[in-house]
């Protein structure tokens, strides 16, 4: 009788997670390398977009496309603005914890209501949720400042040190992005088998004893918390919390970042956000042609790389690599906690 082959113990973090977290650590160096406000601002926007897109990435691990990211960004952003303006809380650690926890807790009852849905129904309900959130921000004036938003947010502090200029803001954003990516990486790696099973065949997974709803609820809640961190970073950059910063249509951008980057890996989210935010800025120089050029870029990328940029890169290395392609393909899928993008 043959023996079972020895199991290769994969490291907790795969290559993609390590590279992603490494790149985010490099972002801390940007303020020391340049004082150029455009580069600082651009880096800020990329990191905020990437952190927001993580909310989409986490849910896509279970084949659920969420349009709810702006809603939870708003919860995180307004929580921070209220604490800063009305309660005088400026400590970055307290504010980050509040942004994460309040958003995550808000997601619990919402998740209970909507996580039994799948496919287009889930898409539709999360989009409507974001619309309702936008409406509440405008209508709940005494709490949210209505159409004026909440302005005059004080600078955040780190161990009592005030973070007031552009480079400081980038440091805060990089810190929040790092924490967001770390949380998402730990979640998607620790539960990669569960998430992949739900994505590929939830009926089979349940028949083997997996309580799919628990993992969906946990992921939805953590995705909301990470979106809350992105909301904090956005409000901190703008020094104001305004409903238009959390427009329902911005959810399309976050989904695009995750998919164009490659929904199969966390690195894809960062790369997708970096390329598309840069492209937006670049096309903005072409005035009214900008939306058309941006749309054209997405069409071309989707046609050329249906698995996203990371899928394209994986195919490239597979074609020129010497290892057994099929084995590598499946190992990559497991290590990145995903199936095929």
């Amino acid at each position: 009788m043959k023996e079972l082959p020895a199991s290769e113990r994969a490291p907790f973090f795969g290559t993609y997670e390590k590279v992603t977290l490494g790149l985010l650590l490099l972002a801390f160096a940007v303020p020391f390398l340049t004082r150029n406000p455009q580069i600082l601002s651009q880096s800020n926007l990329i990191l905020i977009a990437a952190t927001a897109a993580l909310g989409v990435y986490i849910m896509l691990r279970m084949d659920l496309m969420s349009f709810a990211v702006p809603a939870f960004m708003a919860v995180g952003g307004y929580t921070v603005a209220m604490l800063g303006i009305r309660s005088g809380v400026t400590d970055v650690f307290a504010l980050a914890a509040a942004a994460f926890l309040v958003s995550a807790l808000c997601a619990v009852p919402l998740g209970w209501m909507i996580l039994r849905l799948k496919g287009v129904y889930f898409v539709l309900v999360t989009f409507v949720l974001t619309e309702i959130c936008q409406l509440l921000l405008f209508e709940a004036g005494p709490l949210t400042g209505g159409s004026n938003g909440l302005v005059g947010m004080p600078s955040v502090t780190v161990f009592g040190y005030e973070m007031y200029d552009n480079s400081h803001v980038l440091m805060i954003t990089a810190g929040l992005a790092f924490v967001g990516f770390l949380i998402a990486a730990v979640l998607t790696r620790a539960l990669r088998y569960e998430f992949a099973a739900i994505e590929k065949n939830d009926v089979l997974a349940e028949s083997l004893g997996l309580a799919c709803w628990k993992y969906k609820a946990l992921a939805f809640s953590v995705a909301a918390g990470v979106s809350g961190l992105a909301g904090f970073a956005l409000v901190n950059m703008l020094l104001t919390a305004h409903p238009t910063s959390f427009s329902p249509l911005s959810s399309v951008n976050y989904i695009t970042y995750a998919i164009v980057g490659g929904k199969g890996s966390i690195l894809g989210t960062l790369i997708g956000a970096a390329i598309l935010v840069s492209a937006t800025e670049f096309f903005a120089l072409r005035g009214e042609l900008s939306p058309g050029l941006y749309g054209l870029l997405i069409i071309v990328m989707t046609l050329v790389a249906p698995g996203g940029i990371m899928g394209l890169a994986e195919n490239f290395f597979r074609r020129f690599g010497k290892r057994d392609s099929k084995a590598l393909e499946t190992k990559v899928a497991v290590q990145s906690g995903s199936g095929h993008s």
Binding site: A196, E206, V334
Partner: protein, 255 residues
């Protein structure tokens, strides 16, 4: 039975169960019992309600009336995953595995979801070797031949260490030479794991080889119960499978 690996099976008691969708009655007034380590064959023509019965007993669908008990626990109306944790595990007619995952990862997932560690895999080594799955250990499951995928899905169900297995046409789509794997599988489940088995199947040779008792469903009713040799020779059972005399007359008139 191996005392080391036995799971301490439970009796499955089905008491006068019925299932309807609106005005359509899928099955009604069905009762039977499967003791630990026992095997009950369930046969019947397509549309007799066999798969729906598995869906209701396993918790995927609610019963319209009656109840299903595993030991002292009522299992109908409970969630599929809770029932799986209790040891009531089902298989599927089609191939059922996680595409894109290797054979090893599929089995690891089954162990993980049922709360066991990888060392539990060793008790399945004889089966994995017999089915030829060890040779494909690190291959993507979705590119394996149909027969191997089918046996992988069945072995995943067994990896959860069930107390009662509900097998939905395990031989469907298998070549004749591969069907003996189902014999070995069922024998292993009963003798080594110690679980009872409900075997829904169309392959009468397999039923005759494996089962000492079968029930026959037709039009949602239990029309016969007993030893295969007796039951399969009954006129009403033959009519159910081949079409009754009345059906033939009707068919002749139409043509």
């Amino acid at each position: 039975m191996s005392a080391l690996s036995s799971n301490g099976g439970e009796t499955l008691r089905i008491e006068q169960i019925a299932k309807s969708f609106g005005g359509l009655t899928v099955f009604q007034d069905i009762s039977f019992e499967i003791k630990p380590g026992a095997l009950l064959g369930v046969i019947g023509p397509n549309g007799a309600g066999k798969t729906t019965m598995i869906n209701t007993i396993s918790g995927r669908l609610h019963l319209s009336s009656g109840r299903a008990m595993l030991g002292n626990t009522r299992v109908d109306g409970q969630s599929v995953f809770d029932n799986a944790k209790r040891g009531l595990v089902r298989s599927f007619q089609q191939t059922a595995n996680f595409s894109g995952y290797t054979v090893e990862d599929n089995l690891t997932s089954a162990l993980r979801f049922s709360g066991q560690d990888r060392s539990s895999l060793s008790r399945l080594t004889p089966l994995l070797d017999r089915f030829g799955l060890i040779e494909h250990w690190n291959r993507n499951a979705e590119i394996l031949p149909y027969g191997l995928q089918k046996m992988l899905g069945l072995t995943m169900a067994l990896a959860t260490k069930p107390r009662m297995l509900l097998l939905d046409e395990p031989a469907a789509g298998l070549e004749k030479s591969e069907r003996t794997n189902v014999d070995i599988y069922v024998q292993y489940a009963r003798d080594e794991i110690g679980c009872g088995v409900m075997l829904v199947e169309h392959d009468m040779d397999l039923i005759k080889r494996l089962c000492r008792e079968v029930i026959v469903l037709d039009g949602g009713r239990l029309i016969a119960q007993g030893e295969p040799a007796d039951v399969l020779n009954r006129k009403d059972v033959i009519d159910a499978y081949l079409g009754g005399a009345d059906d033939e007359d009707e068919h002749a008139q139409h043509s």
